[in-house]
Symmetry: D2
């Protein structure tokens, strides 16, 4: 017995990754894919990888099939999800939002960083935060509501916050961080992270053979990371663009409290992290001395984490790798939907990247 | 009821692609992966994409589990398959060979192009040629033998011959080619085609930002293409290396007989090709005016084909795209095994590439 | 005593390569760079490689400094050069046109392939064709006219025609080609060849990890190659896009006359080509068995050529590598300007690529 | 009047970049290039970019022409420079060493990080440190000694220390850094930084479409950065590998003293940096809000720096871009040689990258 699902904003990169995963999902039936720009075109004409695989066509966002779905995924820019979610919820459709619109619990923070009014602040009180490994209780509550017949809203975490928080959270929860210090996060993303829009930055001849920082000290994922980690004004986040399609590596530097720095070994840290992630099928903590390659997770919903304790400089250095489109967007949303709809959280999600 | 399978030479690029596909195959149970160089190491330590996915370890080639398999895939260099196949067959194990050792039906041609003696010429008479879309009868015969309790040998086609022949065969069968003319094939492969060996050619700094031809007029896939197409001494084949990991594009130029050139339209050619490939789930012939991107098939077992009739110069130009490691190697071998073992030929094989 | 020069269309990829080369040219003083889209912006703000190197600013195309130049380079789309050249010539400025507007000697061919009227057919009679290694007499004539005080027009050859013709011409001139046969040219270009416009094809995530053919049987460089080689309706040209920035490799297949095929060795062919290019400082014919890498010429004005005689199939296979922006565009235009203005043809032009 | 120079270890990536630059240097005559592995081979056969450009051949390291040089560049692994430098100095040849052997002033630190004995500790007292923008006095002293007839030794700074220190030094000198705090440096290098050796890490199929950290908390450039900045045990340095050939971006996070954080603006910081680098032709400090692309400096000896003050988290974030082979190795060594030999420091060095 499959659930009927739809994707709004299906022609963007996160949207099309949802389509790929949902077409292969054994418990979901994808009935509607919308894109105002590509409405009327066949999926396979816009993305030729689907030639011979699916006859779906893009429709406009007002496709009536959406309101007959069990769940709808919103893969639209911020503000567009604010506009779309309330109606779907009212129609009894659970909403899994990949945009930033419902992530920040304080609407004032949203308004400050996104320069726009939050039109549904009441939804922020009940929405679940979609990062299953760290917010299991949130999603369990949503699953219970859904089982009781309610439509629920899940605000799926962003790509940088996902990799960064999976890397940083266990250490901070363990109380290892030096009081009053700040976490320095330098992260690197592939170009799919910049979206499907063709512009000077995404031109092949600009992105190829180049790395650069962008959004320095003002990237909108900063407050989201701070919220997840409980570190207001204490996250310094610098994203970088590198010449690859998929993949996101977050390098997290956590200053250690002196007494921790003097005793904690890398092996201790690995053990603690492994215990923390014991029930999490997608997270893999590597042996001491190993650090993840983004290519080891590309195309999959996995997150790989490497750790090193730097006693000299009293710092825990963590690198955390995900596929920005999968665990950082579409895969995570489906993982949340699996949980909320009572399925196994791995259902339909690739655990394994291409080996080469 | 799963079949037990093994991979000899599992740490190379074709071998590890077999491992990836076999681990996800619903009817095969992968019980042995061998690599003399990596014996004793965990799969996930050599290829970290498998972290948390499989606990398999590499063993040496003499793993006794192999002879207890239903089918073994040989992903070893030529001559090594010559050495390994007879023993496995004698032990009752069906063999799917990805090397060139059993592809050429005439051992003299093998010896001329590979500079080595063919030690099992008798096997060439009964082996099936593993290119299902063009040699269905061969594989049906092997399936019948196998059903009757015999171990069978399948010589899977090479990567360039697969893409090239799928592109060229229907036109030649249709009699469109000018008498006495030669086919010009210029093909481009990603660097996985050059194998896992680290050398001056496969160094990132040599392959990146570069295209070049190699093996000009002497590549060993030439006689294989000529054999499949029945064009002795009439194939000019030039392979090129381009900076991508997976993907192979073969551009095939077939001189048209004058009367054909004067009347055949591209639409006619597309229609003929579509009819030819009607029962072939992995081959997709694109609309007139469309030509395949290798990225549309990477990671999948698909082949996409584009066609153009050049009336001015009396030439049919065909471009044919595959993933060299999947349809060009591991995927095709599994497709052959599916057929021989009585499964649906698509079983366990990805039809769809990553959309981006 | 430097010549004053300007570049019209300086913000495109060929234009900015002209700017790079002209800023380093010891005999040219770059006084005007125009771009209607970027007028008013500093060179270094649009192309940050020039930070600290030049204070030039882009102006609109009507910059009056242009008519005071000795030479102006037109790096504009076709039809725009048709509009700009006559006025400059009238003002006594020699014009080096990188567009296709004055390349085809027969205006009817231009009109058929470019779907637009040729508004200055009279200029086609006197323009020099800008491919110095093959049209030395043309450029010598232009130099003489220029020395006599006339403004001259040079129609610089396109990127594919340059690589292809440098590769094919000596063989055809030698009479090696089989009568009535067609030349098959499969060429591969980096993404700068697709221009600066940001679109679905030039998006990093579309071009990366992909090769594809485009413009099959209808690319506009076809009649230009046929004109240079004197092979009307006998060139089959298929360009391909590969994931690199700069570099163009043309693989040329020339059917050999039977008597030639039976006797010509690759060494003979190399010797003939070396004799042909003896006085050409930018062309390098490689030893038999060697084939060029595009990375060996990227950033330079060099062309490297490799040859192989295929006796079995009676074919001469040639691969010819250039940098599409340099020898294929800006470098060649400066080489022509050097000749026309009486300088050494190598003046200010890089002979050597980055070694890695 | 040209100086005679040689390169020991000329076939590696830094060595061949020296060759490229020295062949084009107007005041240096390159008379010897050595490589024990490639001895007897022509330069152009090993690096085909030099075809037609130079007839030099590689010799073994014991080439007697070296001791007749004015200056020799050592581009050999650490310990090999320890072995080679004393003899050359004794022969009156000034030595510009690109290895790490003479960078660390304290031999005990060298021995701790490099696990080998320092056999010439006395040379550490007189060697100049080769990072001209920060150690001008050192190089002036060496120039004076050289003018007085002495052979001098210059220990050229490493690639990561160069980019990082050029980015960090002015802020630290200004006293902006919070007392007792540590600097976090996350840097990204292209694959040429991993050297010419073909191995699992440098294989195209491993490096492509991948980013990863390496040498976490133990990279040997850490003590060199600490020495330059005067921050013992207070630098946390994590290098990363990204899929490009040339380019190095260092992202430096400097905790600001509270009183500085409350008042310093990004514009202030830019102004201070511009004043600091006023006489430095290769360093360019970008406008507030701008951050460098590595592609803007690739192939050149330039360094571009971007700055942002993060008042919320009291951090100065700096990104600094160089070409690891040029300003990070060969170019910097030649810059040092120019200074020591009394030439303009920019002599023969490219100021400008390819614009695209």
């Amino acid at each position: 017995m499959a659930y009927r699902v739809g994707v709004v904003g299906a022609a963007g990169y996160a949207g099309i990754e949802l389509v790929r995963l949902l077409l292969g999902h054994p418990q979901f039936k994808l009935v509607a894919i919308t894109s105002n720009a590509d409405a009327g075109q066949k999926l396979a004409d816009v993305y030729p990888a689907f030639a011979g695989v699916s006859d779906l066509e893009f429709t406009t966002h007002d496709n009536p099939l959406l309101t007959a779905c069990d769940a709808v995924f919103l893969a639209v820019p911020h503000t567009a999800a604010l506009a779309a979610a309330p109606g779907l919820l009212k129609a009894g459709v659970s909403v899994f939002d990949l945009s930033a619109d419902f992530r920040l619990s304080d609407p004032a923070v949203y308004e400050a960083w996104y320069n726009t009014q939050h039109t549904s602040p009441e939804l922020l009180k009940t929405r679940a935060f979609g990062l299953p490994e760290l917010f299991a209780a949130d999603l369990a509550r949503a699953a219970a509501s859904r089982a009781a017949g309610e439509a629920v809203l899940v605000a799926c975490a962003g790509c940088y916050p996902t990799a960064t928080s999976l890397g940083a959270y266990p250490a901070i929860q363990a109380g290892w961080m030096a009081e009053g210090s700040s976490v320095v996060v330098d992260a690197i993303s592939g170009v799919t992270g910049a979206g499907k829009s063709a512009n000077a930055r995404t031109h092949y001849c600009s992105a190829d053979e180049n790395v650069e920082a962008y959004g320095v000290c003002k990237h909108r994922h900063t407050p989201e990371i701070e919220q997840i980690l409980g570190l207001e004004d204490r996250v310094v986040f610098t994203p970088h663009l590198a010449p690859l399609k998929r993949g996101l590596l977050s390098t997290v530097n956590i200053p250690l409290a002196p007494e921790v720095a003097d005793t904690l070994t890398t092996e201790d840290a690995v053990a603690r992290y492994r215990a923390f992630y014991e029930g999490s099928p997608f997270v893999r903590v590597l042996d001491a001395g190993q650090f993840p390659k983004t290519s080891s997770v590309a195309g999959s919903n996995a997150c790989q984490i490497g750790l090193a304790v730097n006693g000299r400089a009293r710092m825990l250095v963590i690198t955390s790798a995900i596929d920005n489109l999968c665990k950082g967007a579409a895969g995570q949303a489906i993982q949340c939907a699996n949980i909320v709809l009572g399925l196994d959280e791995t259902c339909g999600l690739p655990l394994c990247a291409l080996p080469v």
